[in-house]
């Protein structure tokens, strides 16, 4: 049995954890790539990163992100940016805090420790030279959290919701990254960049034995069954965990159907066919479908309640009648 609120919180723990890792990977990439770029090149690269993370509308509110320093601050510690590392780490901590009695103590301790260490860094306004130090710290903490999740957490509904959250967020990021690649104003799809932003470059090399080409990279990120970050792998894992929940709780039937349908479309080549005709609309539709799956799960986890009318049921001491008598 899991409280609906806990299920919702743990789903978001998974999503924010994944978001933290994705943002850190983007920052790490940016720290190494943008230093070599100047002027318009740097600006375009920054815009692409923001688009990849799905933060265009938030960035527009902040104003222009023209330099490295602004980009780093925006992605690292801007509390107005729900996708910043600080926002995501804070959200993980808050969600775990609200579910503290049902998660392993070590999981809470790792998340709390990450938040406290990160706050120390961000409160001290770290100079750019310390960026790598911060990123390394966050990466290691995320690995430790994943370790506790995988090795220390009971395989119950709570675990399943964290995994589902991670897989959904990862799917959305991966497809968003490919869409951003196809719509790159520089007119080329940078295959190496896509693979590096998903930590998949080494795996690609080992699988294919040659430098990545755009089509190969996109196919790898979407369909590879040996890559934990591919869309196919993510949907399979999410579907498995949804089945687990269905088996124990008999819930989330709609979400399970939707994820299963997406996975089947991917396996049966429907999405590949659509991409062959018009890749950007096909990928955008896929991106949209994934966002819908995320919404569907959230609604199924915490369905709106039709509150009973309780006021008329209550009788004050000494009043005549019984419950429901007025």
């Amino acid at each position: 049995m899991i409280l609906a609120r806990h299920a919702d919180a743990l789903l978001w723990v998974g999503r924010y954890l994944e978001r933290t890792e994705a943002t850190v990977r983007c920052l790490d990439y940016a720290a190494n790539s943008i230093i070599h770029l100047r002027g318009d090149e740097a600006r375009v690269e920054i815009e692409q990163l923001v688009k990849t993370l799905g933060l265009e509308s938030v960035a527009a509110l902040v104003g222009s992100l023209e330099g490295r320093r602004q980009l780093f601050a925006f992605l690292l510690s801007d509390t107005g940016n729900p996708g910043s590392v600080l926002s995501a780490v804070s959200a993980v901590r808050e969600k775990l805090r609200s579910t503290r009695e049902r998660i392993p103590i070590e999981l809470w301790e790792e998340a709390n420790g990450l938040y406290l260490r990160f706050r120390e860094f961000s409160d001290a306004a770290p100079p750019p030279e310390r960026l790598q130090e911060v990123l390394l710290m966050v990466r290691r903490a995320c690995l430790a959290i994943s370790g506790v999740l995988n090795e220390g957490m009971r395989r119950d509904e709570g675990y399943a919701f964290i995994v589902i959250g991670r897989m959904i967020e990862r799917s959305i990021f991966t497809v968003g990254l490919i869409v951003a690649g196809y719509t790159d104003p520089r007119g080329t799809i940078d295959a190496t960049r896509m693979l590096r932003l998903t930590s998949s470059l080494q795996a690609y090399h080992r699988r294919h034995g040659h430098a990545p080409d755009p089509e190969g990279a996109v196919r790898y990120l979407l369909f590879a069954t040996d890559l934990p970050r591919s869309l196919q792998s993510c949907l399979l894992r999410a579907e498995d965990r949804l089945k687990d929940i269905g088996a124990t709780a008999g819930a989330l039937d709609g979400s399970r159907r939707k994820v299963g349908l997406l996975r089947a479309r991917l396996e049966l080549g429907e999405i590949e066919e659509a991409m062959a005709q018009a890749p950007v609309p096909a990928l955008s539709a896929l991106h949209w479908d994934l966002a819908e799956v995320a919404s569907e799960i959230a609604v199924e986890v915490v369905p709106p309640l039709d509150f009973p009318t309780v006021r008329s049921q209550y009788l004050r001491p000494g009043e005549a009648g019984g419950l429901g008598g007025t």
């Binding site: 809470w108 709780a249 986890v301 509150f307 209550y314 419950l323």
Partner: protein
């Protein structure tokens, strides 16, 4: 002239040995005057001078009490640097685990690391036995009073033991609790009774906390931290364990299920993560293995309380609530409450769920009603109180008020509805302005004030970052009542970290100590 006190000398490092008292007067290197800064290599207990009142660890002549002999030996082998290191270890552990408390008035905002002093409090088995009997007796009488008041005939009031007007004018009295039955007549399921020791070392009850007493999680976490940082301290002592609190509480709460349900569904109700005691709420749910719910997780339908799960609505039998009465049900109490459950009172009245602690317990822990508890013990149990109250004067009584106002500078004045030391005026420490303000407040609203004799509070060696000095302490033991009453072997010892201060509340800079109830064989 008072006889000279012998001082406790620093023990040499090496094998533990019996303490040898130093000659009087102390040599200058012993730093008798406590305000002097000791030499860097001075022992932690060099120059220790028991403060006014009863010292838990030392006799008035400076010799070590038997129960503390080995602890004092152990600490005398440490230096300040080592103790600071151990304190940092504990603080880091608390910080990592998020063992915090919240000070709402603090500009820093939310969380502070829970402060713990490493010198423990020891309670000998015989001493604890008396405390246990006294606390059981007191809580039994309070339960009788509340049951009589809300579900009985009001016999104590009818017989003039407590004035009716005083009870019904209490801020904690709850008319909506009238007629609500509870299993076993147990309304104070978790009671935290604050006790202190007077100048002669006698335990006295300072106040009763019968609504949502907090602090038990820190008792358990203090012990866990001590066991990690100073495991060697436990080698010489058979301290009773404390980690069984969750099991005790769960069995108490399960015994409160309506109709004696098998495998009752128990939940802990919290106001949420921003509440000062949220850490404790999560701790309790985790240690009992039950769900920690917020008001929004519960729903009432047709007189039954349900919890919202992904499987649907599941009925709840017992709610251990850590939400105040007035926030429990927006239908009946504050309509703006987002913390409660609409319709909960209806379910309670229908007898489909039990809320622990019961509604309206504040009528019995009102500080003015406190003064009548010894009479309630005599009335309901036909016994003499085993633990006395602190001498208390009721300001609504013209004679007592006149006498108290005549010597307000010798007394403590307390508003009856306050908690956490708010509004308390300690006469001997107050200036003329504070005395005048307290006098005016009492005269304006005498029902809501009491005055008490100053109890010096006992003291214990506590670490000042340089050495161990006496600091005042109190004790909050916890009493659980369901089908039967059990006193949890331990309690929260709070310590005033400023010299001479009697304010032990953590929100006012107080700390805490691990509390060891020694097993009988240790004697």
């Amino acid at each position: 002239m008072a006889p000279p006190r012998r001082m406790y000398p620093r023990a040499k490092t090496g094998a533990a040995r019996l303490v040898r008292a130093a000659p009087w007067p102390p040599s200058s290197s012993m730093g008798f005057v406590a305000d002097q800064t000791p030499a860097p290599d001075a022992g932690l207990l060099d120059g220790y001078r028991p403060g006014p009142g009863f010292d838990e660890a030392f006799e008035a002549d400076g010799s070590v009490r038997e129960a503390y002999r080995r602890i004092v030996e152990r600490f005398s082998q440490l230096d300040a640097g080592e103790l600071r290191r151990l304190e940092r270890l504990v603080a880091d552990e608390f910080r990592r685990q998020g063992i915090t408390f919240t000070v709402y008035s603090d500009e820093e905002g939310t969380e502070r690391i829970w402060p713990m002093d490493l010198f423990p409090r020891l309670i000998a088995a015989a001493e604890w036995d008396e405390l246990e009997r006294g606390l059981t007796q007191r809580v039994a009488a309070l339960n009788c009073f509340l049951e009589d008041l809300y579900a009985g005939e009001g016999a104590a009031i009818a017989d003039g033991v407590v004035p009716r007007w005083l009870v019904v004018s209490s801020g904690g009295f709850e008319r909506n609790a009238m007629g609500i039955q509870v299993p076993h007549g147990a309304r104070c399921n978790v009671a935290g009774i604050d006790v202190v020791r007077d100048g002669e070392g006698r335990y006295r009850v300072l106040e009763d906390n019968l609504r949502n007493p907090s602090g038990i999680s820190y008792v358990v976490e203090n012990r866990a931290a001590m066991a990690k940082a100073c495991s060697w301290l436990f080698y010489d002592h058979a301290a009773q364990p404390v980690e069984q609190y969750g099991r005790m509480l769960r069995s108490t709460l399960e015994s409160m299920a309506p109709g004696g349900a098998d495998s009752p569904h128990v939940v802990v109700l919290t106001p949420g993560i921003f509440n000062a005691a949220y850490f404790e709420h999560a701790f309790l749910a985790r240690s009992m293995g039950v769900e920690l719910v917020e008001g929004r997780d519960l729903v009432v339908d047709d007189g039954t309380v349900y919890v919202r799960t992904i499987e649907g609505l599941i009925a709840v039998d017992v709610i251990y609530r850590r939400v105040d009465d007035t926030f429990l049900d927006p239908v009946v109490f504050r309509p703006d409450s987002m913390l409660g459950v609409p319709g909960l009172l209806g379910a309670l009245r229908a007898g489909t769920v039990t809320v622990c602690n019961a509604l309206g317990n504040g009528a019995a822990d009102d500080k003015a009603v406190y003064a009548y508890v010894p009479d309630l013990i005599r009335y309901y149990l036909s016994d003499e109180p085993i633990i006395d109250n602190v001498p208390t004067y009721l300001m609504w009584d013209p004679d007592q008020r006149a006498e108290a106002l005549g010597r307000l500078d010798e007394l403590v004045a307390k508003p009856v509805g306050s908690s956490g030391g708010d509004g308390v005026m300690i006469g001997p420490h107050a200036d003329d302005e504070e005395l005048a303000a307290a006098r005016a407040a009492i005269e304006a609203d005498p029902r809501n004030w009491i005055t008490q004799e100053v109890v010096q509070l006992s003291s214990l060696p506590s670490f000042t970052q340089e050495r161990l000095e006496p600091r005042h302490v109190d004790l909050r033991p916890f009493v659980l009542t369901g089908e039967r009453t059990q006193v949890f072997p331990g309690g929260l010892t709070r310590v005033a970290m400023r010299r001479g201060s009697l304010i032990v509340n953590s929100s006012a800079g107080g700390g805490s100590k691990d509390t060891w109830v020694l097993a009988p064989e240790h004697q």
